[in-house]
């Protein structure tokens, strides 16, 4: 006997895509193959900063290859991410450049019959570069006399001069921070850093494009938005959208790296149009690592706080090193302000952010979009404050968190709403029991070689980017729900699934709304010609926004269904209900209170067809007017080997408040995966550049970009996940999102755990053994010298 009143929502059911994936039959982009298809590859810059003087492709063409360079492609300047409104879209790129701004930037491209021939042809292209001075550090980039990456770019339809390599800047404030700090009993200020992490999605970016006889194109890309890809391609290549068809293809992991149209896509289209044959372009792993990375941050965080732990003011100043292109730095800064403001209450606040160009791989959103970075700083600082004031870290969080009934900023300062569901307290209190918080010892009491520590971190993410008024970003989803003549259901949406079960959830929402057994609800294949616009599957909006539009489409279909049913069984449509009948696999429409009046959905649909009444369907474009926070809490225990500086996670608790949990097992899987990536961010992952060559020190190879393996993670019994008991009134069946929340609080929790283990505060992630050992040695030296006076030996380098 369970208390789940839903028949589909919250139930564990076999994944619809699971069968194909577990048998190797799922086709990803790199598995797509078309007749007469050519293969392609991109010639990439060996220089971090250089003018392209000339490109000679004649020798390559002699081999029978089709070649393109910037001369062959319309010089439309665009931003590959199409989520922001044009006035807020910073445009600094063309399909292929006449100036390269990072090692690995594409310069020319080649298509030929075989991959071997492509490579031969590529090697015969002669490019003359004029190397320019390059800059790799954001502070150096902002100095006078630094190499200039851009004289100007386009913002909307205006030319925007770029000064000091600052791609964009954002400043937000409320109240009077000077006053707020003056009122404080204690002011704490620290600088934190997070690394230049690589997304590490298992599938490298890829695309197949077929040119059509009518001048159109069909495209199979790795993407998180088929419609944005379509619109951008239509614009760049001047093809009407009705002739541009972009297919939804399962993607082998995204984590934000395909929000923007991936760089190979337009290149491949250009090749296909020139060759007039289908072209396939798959990045190698190394090319992929040079293609995109997470936004690294330097965050200066200042809090004023009263003796009782109440925050009086907060000031966050950040420098974000965005690499060679501005993909979504402006909304990032706005979001970082939003995360900062919505974690803990501050009567007075100020945020300043600078995004700076450097000659490195362009940064783009990666799970959390500034939230893991801000939360790393904030959660670390809260613990620092708690210790100084002698308050328990959990208590200080309970005292200050922005919660139920309070105003919270969505993805930035222009979108505000009131929190209507919140499980923060529940998660902190239950989580602390599970991890054994009360049994924590202070670091001073730990003297053995291997020391364990427990840390807490909390955070949230917005469920999408909805708002009641049009804003800086577009957010809505179109869905169609159609009832087939046998009572099964087709759901059509341009939503993507990255693996977390977004489309599963959509099917469950429709099944629940229509009272149809889940088995009979199908998610249709989707492309841009047969679906209405969905902005993108990002920003943790899949379930909350995309699912909501599916629900409303189902509601519309249901209305029509009841109307037709009422013609057949002569009952007022408003009185009708549906329940799922597992045996027949049908939704049964009935009149409560009597057995006499019922009819299956299939019967109604069939009669509607026979009588010529029409197809029963609902089509909806829906914008959520809110983006409620899905909260997350992590408790992490680490073990530090004080003789080698090595840190490993030993136990973890991850809890999320996602409202109604639609796919419990997949949601738990999100938490487990988020923990792994979060610990990676905290302890392991970064990409460094050689200051002489501008090359990645790891070369782009996974040999030296390490991610955790199964043997690095804690045992099964030492990871616990749970969900808060909440219900979000504005979400489909009470659901919120989870995706990015799963990752946001982890790094801060790890840093806090390390402090609890060894009494050293590390403010720069990744916290690698080399630094840990140096800090431990320095600390023991300081303790010898000062007889235990606490100085923080880690300078955060």
């Amino acid at each position: 006997m369970d208390d789940n009143k839903f028949h589909a929502i919250g139930r564990i059911s076999p994944r619809k895509e699971g069968y194909a994936r577990v048998t190797g039959r799922e086709r990803y982009v790199s598995d797509v193959s078309l007749p007469n298809m050519l293969h392609a590859r991109v010639l990439r810059s060996p220089y971090p900063h250089a003018k392209i003087v000339s490109i000679d492709t004649r020798e390559a063409e002699k081999l029978g290859a089709v070649c393109i360079s910037h001369h062959d492609i319309p010089k439309i300047k665009y931003n590959e991410r199409q989520v922001s409104i044009p006035e807020k879209t910073y445009r600094d790129r063309t399909v292929l450049p006449d100036k390269v701004r990072h090692v690995g930037e594409g310069v020319a491209a080649v298509a030929a019959k075989t991959e071997a021939l492509v490579d031969k042809a590529l090697k015969r292209i002669v490019v003359k570069f004029e190397p320019l001075r390059a800059v790799f550090d954001p502070y150096e980039a902002m100095q006078e006399g630094a190499p200039v990456l851009y004289e100007d770019i386009m913002l909307g339809d205006k030319v925007l001069p770029i000064q000091q390599n600052i791609a964009c800047f954002r400043e937000v404030g409320e109240g009077d921070v000077a006053k707020g700090f003056a009122e404080a009993d204690l002011v704490v200020e620290n600088e934190f850093k997070t690394g230049r992490v690589y997304h590490g999605q298992m599938e490298s970016k890829a695309v197949v494009c077929r040119p059509e006889a009518d001048g159109g194109i069909t495209v199979w890309p790795t993407t998180q938005s088929i419609h944005n890809t379509r619109q951008l391609l239509g614009r760049i290549f001047n093809i009407p959208l009705s002739k541009v068809n972009v297919h939804r293809v399962p993607i082998g992991g995204a984590f934000g790296s395909s929000i923007q149209m991936n760089t190979p896509v337009a290149i491949c289209v250009a090749l296909a149009l020139k060759a007039q044959k289908p072209v396939k372009l798959v990045l190698t792993r190394e090319e992929d690592m040079y293609d995109h990375c997470k936004y690294p941050t330097i965050i200066r965080l200042k809090y004023g706080v009263k003796r009782d732990g109440t925050l009086t003011a907060g000031y966050l100043k950040t420098v974000v090193d965005i690499g060679g292109h501005n993909i979504q730095a402006y909304p990032l800064l706005g979001c970082m302000a939003g995360w900062f403001v919505s974690l803990y209450r501050m009567p007075h606040l100020k945020f300043e952010g600078n995004a700076v160009y450097t000659n490195k791989a362009p940064a783009c959103a990666m799970q959390g979009y500034g939230n893991p970075q801000v939360s790393f700083a904030v959660e670390s600082q809260m613990d620092i404050i708690a210790e100084k004031l002698g308050i328990d870290p959990i208590d200080i969080r309970l005292k200050n968190y922005v919660g139920l009934g309070e105003t919270f900023w969505g993805q930035g300062p222009t979108v505000r709403s009131v929190i209507r569901s919140c499980g923060v307290e529940e998660m902190l209190l239950r989580g602390k029991e599970i991890i054994g918080w009360e049994k924590r010892l202070t670091p001073q009491l730990k003297t053995q070689r291997f020391r364990r520590g427990i840390g807490v971190g909390r955070g949230f993410h917005t469920s999408g980017t909805g708002a009641p008024t049009p804003g800086e970003v577009i957010d809505y989803s179109t869905a169609m729900v159609k009832i087939n003549e046998d009572g099964s259901v087709d759901c059509s949406t341009a939503l993507m699934c990255h693996g977390g079960g977004t489309l599963e959830a959509g099917a469950k929402i429709v099944a629940e709304e229509l009272g149809v057994p889940l088995d009979n609800v199908g998610i249709s294949p989707s492309d841009t010609r047969s679906t209405g616009y969905d902005v993108c599957t990002h920003a943790t909006r899949g379930v909350y926004c995309g699912g909501a539009s599916l629900q409303r489409a189902a509601q519309k279909a249901k209305q029509q269904l009841f109307e037709f049913a009422s013609r057949l069984i002569e009952v007022n449509p408003e009185a009708l209900r549906i329940y799922p009948e597992a045996g027949s696999g049908q939704g049964i429409i009935y009149l409560p209170g009597t057995l006499a009046k019922n009819i299956s959905i299939g019967e109604v649909a069939k009669m509607a067809q026979l009588k010529g009444w029409g197809t029963i369907l609902g089509v909806v474009s829906h914008r959520q007017v809110n983006c409620p926070p899905c909260f997350v809490t992590n408790f992490i225990e680490v073990e530090v080997d004080t003789l080698t500086g090595r840190i490993r996670p030993t136990r973890a608790v991850a809890a999320v408040d996602a409202g109604t949990v639609i796919n419990p097992d997949l949601a738990a899987g999100q938490l487990e995966g988020g923990l792994c990536r979060g610990v990676g961010l905290a302890l392991l992952e970064d990409t460094d550049y050689d200051p002489q060559t501008g090359e990645l020190t790891c070369g782009g190879f996974l040999t030296d970009y390490k991610m955790f393996s199964a043997q690095d993670m804690p045992p099964l019994e030492d990871i616990a996940t749970f969900f808060a008991n909440t219900y979000e009134p504005s979400g489909p069946f009470g659901a919120k999102g989870i995706g990015e929340a799963a990752n946001n609080a982890t790094a801060g929790a790890v840093a806090n755990a390390v402090y609890n283990a060894v009494g050293i505060r590390f403010k720069a992630a990744p916290i690698k053994p080399e630094r840990v050992l140096a800090a431990l040695k320095q600390k023991s030296q300081i303790e010898e010298d000062d007889h235990g006076k606490h100085e923080n030996p880690d300078t955060g380098v």
């Binding site: 490579d119 090319e287 040079y290 080698t644 080399e770 140096a774």
Partner: protein, 295 residues
């Protein structure tokens, strides 16, 4: 940029059925030929365009080269024996634990199934995990040539980073490890970033123990010098002595002083130097315990 998705380099591939045939091919093609065994080093090198042979000569079809046998003289591992089989052979002999630990730590099952011990040695990476144990276990290699063969101590075989003292017309046929002499304990540990990874540093120790006396001791470290290195200074400190914590610390300091680490993409010179001392003690203690009881 190199292409890791396909092999762009072109070569002919030869599958000699005997050593004699292999020598003929090497003689015919000279510098343009490269020998390949499991491929786990050669194929990446081809992809990275570090080598560009016109002819690959596989040794994997030559019978006898993958045999493993044990006799009173010790353990003989064919150069083309898979790492997996070499590991299993070492598992049977307690004194060879260092080599067993090292092979186990090399990482992935897949690589254990493909790679060969001979290949690992001939690649001669400064970080090769199999070498420190072979150094402390007095391993020897047999190199065949068209007219005969010669044996070399491992120490003399690896002469520089990725450099083996092997002529172009020589093929490694066997690795030999002398028998366990009783009361022999050995151990190996590596430090890496994640579980299946190239070492930041590694250490192997093999010792003979008599109650609380260290009769003799051999110590080798990997990834902390241009070649995997025996630390003879530390060995001499410990040889013949009654063991205690102070002595072990002295030996550890000697290890730290005796290595020549660099800073690279994986770690720093300082870290390697400091942690070498720590890992050496961990490994020594493991070997000591295995040689017959607790310290």
């Amino acid at each position: 940029m190199v292409n890791t998705k396909i092999l762009t380099q072109e070569f002919d591939y030869h599958r000699p059925a005997s050593l004699a045939e292999a020598f003929e091919l090497l003689a015919e093609y000279g510098d343009a030929a490269k020998v390949i065994a499991g491929g786990t080093d050669v194929v990446p090198q081809l992809k990275y365009e570090k080598i560009a042979p016109n002819h690959l000569v596989t040794l994997m079809k030559i019978s006898g080269l993958s045999d493993i046998n044990e006799d009173s003289d010790g353990l003989n591992i064919g150069a083309c024996a898979r790492l997996r089989d070499a590991k299993q052979a070492c598992a049977r002999v307690p004194g060879y634990a260092a080599l067993h630990d090292a092979l186990r730590s090399i990482g992935k099952v897949q690589v254990m199934n493909m790679g060969t011990l001979g290949g690992n040695l001939c690649t001669a990476s400064p970080a090769a995990d199999s070498v420190p144990p072979l150094l402390v276990l007095n391993g020897r290699v047999t190199l065949a040539n068209p007219v005969g063969s010669r044996t070399l101590e491992i120490e003399d075989f690896i002469t520089g980073p990725y450099t083996a003292a092997m002529a172009a017309n020589e093929i490694m046929t066997e690795i030999h490890i002398p028998p366990d002499q009783g009361h022999q304990g050995s151990a190996f540990l590596k430090i890496a970033r994640v579980a299946a990874d190239i070492s930041k540093l590694s250490c192997a120790v093999a010792l003979q123990r008599d109650a609380d006396r260290c009769v003799s001791c051999r110590i080798a470290l990997g990834a902390v010098a241009p070649v995997p290195l025996r630390i003879k200074g530390a060995e001499e400190l410990l040889g013949g002595k009654k063991m205690d914590a102070t002595l072990l610390d002295e030996a550890a300091a000697s290890v730290s002083a005796g290595i020549r680490p660099i800073s690279d993409v994986r770690s720093t010179e300082t870290y390697r130097r400091q942690v070498a001392a720590v890992i050496f003690k961990d490994v020594f203690n493991m070997a000591w315990q295995r040689a017959g009881g607790k310290r």
